[in-house]
């Protein structure tokens, strides 16, 4: 199948996935006193991480569209990209859950996403001699660090629910900081940096000429 057709198929999945995420996360609230008045609210305190993840979802959709996409003709990549869209959607839905496993799940999502991205560029785009690949080295390195932080927050909370005796009160202390931020605050910071990395990737795709349809050679 042609790369454009595969991209269109991906877009359909992005749309469907977002609809499901939206439907399952945002609950309509009908005011009985005011006829025809419907407002939406989210049944979770983790609103900020959710919003950041939704923005990330859209940036992911844009970057998958501007990327050249030749690799999608390979069955593993094409099926993988669809599965990947739905996993991200599931992560967004999971943010509603009080179970700290959601952070570990997100952590694995970001880690594997970075590995897949690095693999794509190193195998299909860059030669060993390209210094530009350092940019993707940097992305993956920061990605590991952030994934680890996200995963460790999840583990920290998970064990906190299992033990009444441990000192799980102060995450700031554990990170060696002196200011007080909630767990959702830490998660928001991590997700925000992940979003920045994604935007950087998009910017890199655009300036490298990969987004240009007439450009056959990415390098």
């Amino acid at each position: 199948m042609h790369a454009d057709a595969l991209k269109n198929m991906n877009n359909v999945h992005y749309g469907a996935c977002f609809s499901v995420v939206f439907a399952l996360t945002i609950v309509p609230k009908i005011d009985a006193n005011q006829t025809g008045s419907v407002s939406f609210f989210m049944e979770s305190s983790a609103v900020l991480p959710y919003i950041i993840l939704i923005v990330y979802f859209f940036v992911d959709c844009i970057s998958s569209n501007v990327r050249r996409g030749d690799h999608l003709s390979h069955p593993i990549y094409s099926v993988g990209s669809v599965v990947w869209i739905w996993i991200l959607g599931y992560c967004a839905i999971a943010l509603k859950s009080p179970d700290p496993i959601k952070y570990i799940l997100l952590s694995f999502y970001f880690l594997v996403a970075r590995i897949i991205q690095y693999n794509y560029y190193s195998r299909h785009v860059f030669e060993v001699s390209d210094v530009s690949r350092i940019f993707y080295h940097a992305l993956i390195v920061i990605g590991i660090l952030l994934s680890f932080v996200l995963g460790s927050i999840g583990a920290y909370q998970y064990f906190a629910t299992k033990s009444a005796s441990a000192d799980f009160e102060n995450l700031d202390f554990a990170y060696g900081f002196n200011f007080s931020i909630s767990t959702d605050g830490y998660v928001s910071i991590v997700l925000f940096v992940m979003l920045i990395l994604k935007l950087l990737e998009l910017w890199k795709i655009c300036i490298s000429g990969e987004a240009s349809p007439e450009n056959g050679d990415v390098r």
Partner: protein, 459 residues
Amino acid sequence: MNSIQVAIIISVFFQLSILIAVYWWSPKVTLQSYVSDDRIYSWWKIALTTTGTIVGGGMFIGISKVGYEAGFYGVLLGLVYLVGFFMFSSYAGKLRNIMEEKRCLTLNELIEKRFSYRVMWVFSVTNFIIYLCLLSAQFLAIHAIYKFFIDMGVSIEWSILPGVVALVCMLTYPVFGGLRRDIVSDLLQWIFIGLGLIIFVMLLIDQGIPSDLGRIPATHWTGAGYGIVLVIATVVFLVPTFFVRTDLWQRANAARSEKDLVIGLRLAGLISFFSYIVFTLVGMSALANGVVSSERASVEFLRIALSDKVIFGFVLGGFVAAVLSTADTYINNMTIHLESIFDKNRYGNNIKSRVRRLQAFSFVLVLAALGLALWFQDIVDVFVASFSLLIIFMIPILGLWNDNWSSEQGAFWGMLLGLVGFSIGLMLLSPKIAFIPAVTICLLVQLIFRFLGRPVSEH
């Protein structure tokens, strides 16, 4: 005969069976098979031999200690290994092709051809130090088991037996057989390592979450037990070192095809990651259960969780097999580096006499590493210091492929001064952060020569 003696006998039986099996399979040792081997290994062999190098005695003792002292920092190390293997595998096919084009058996030869003898010399000296220290750390791991037996009231002759047999194994097949026997033995050793690993996992599941998690400090859950600086430095600097590890280059060169190599390395990354998680949790579990010595976190964990001494024998066998599977690779690498240091005209030598010389070097080095182990105190410090020393190669290695960065003077002075900076850092700072001055100096020198010097022309 008491139950601990039964365990020791099982362990010794494992080691001797490996030794006999490797000798039974006895193709002729050639220079190629000793230092690099032919491209004959399928993906699962590459996966097991590579993991065998990673999951050594250091893993059983060292990572449990890390889990005990710094908690999830051990998982971070596993994460770095996972990503490092994936990164290396992404380029490994291209790196293999370069080795083939340049007709090089080892990374040392590639560096010598691209830069000069003196650059390769510094590279070999530094690598030699690294692998010597890492081999000594394997002896430290055996020593931890020995002390454990003594504390349990086992007589000295029984306590010393697994260590002596391990030493005998080290002095035979890796010394005389080179890389090919190293890889074949790794495949056999993995049967026992895998058994040991499964038993650890079953014990962890069986124990469940320890009741007193209050003993584990909050910093352990975030991996910041050794400080945030080390967490960041580990991720930033350890990941690229996969591109400069000669043991990985050997395996990249020995794979049957690029596909086998990529699958093998990725599988190795996943198994290593899993092993790091297991042994980190073992260390943390030991801490939560009130074990007082971090050095013996894993063996004390076993003592608490395991009453059946026959199964203990299987774990012990897995542990010693892990020590051997790592040690044989280090012995082989160390020997190649030592030959590069002392024998400038080695290419002109008779091949048979060159192999004999390698074997002689190898034999002496095992004994030297044993001596050095008596001097070292902390297995984690040895590992951290050794692996962080690899960082000083990163930028010179970049010059292997990119003409703009391939300054011969930059590579030589960068690595040499980096090595000096590391030595000073080791004396003045903690072994865990001694790489900081080394990397800074190396980077500065490289940048100076990058912008002022001229790229090297290939030899």
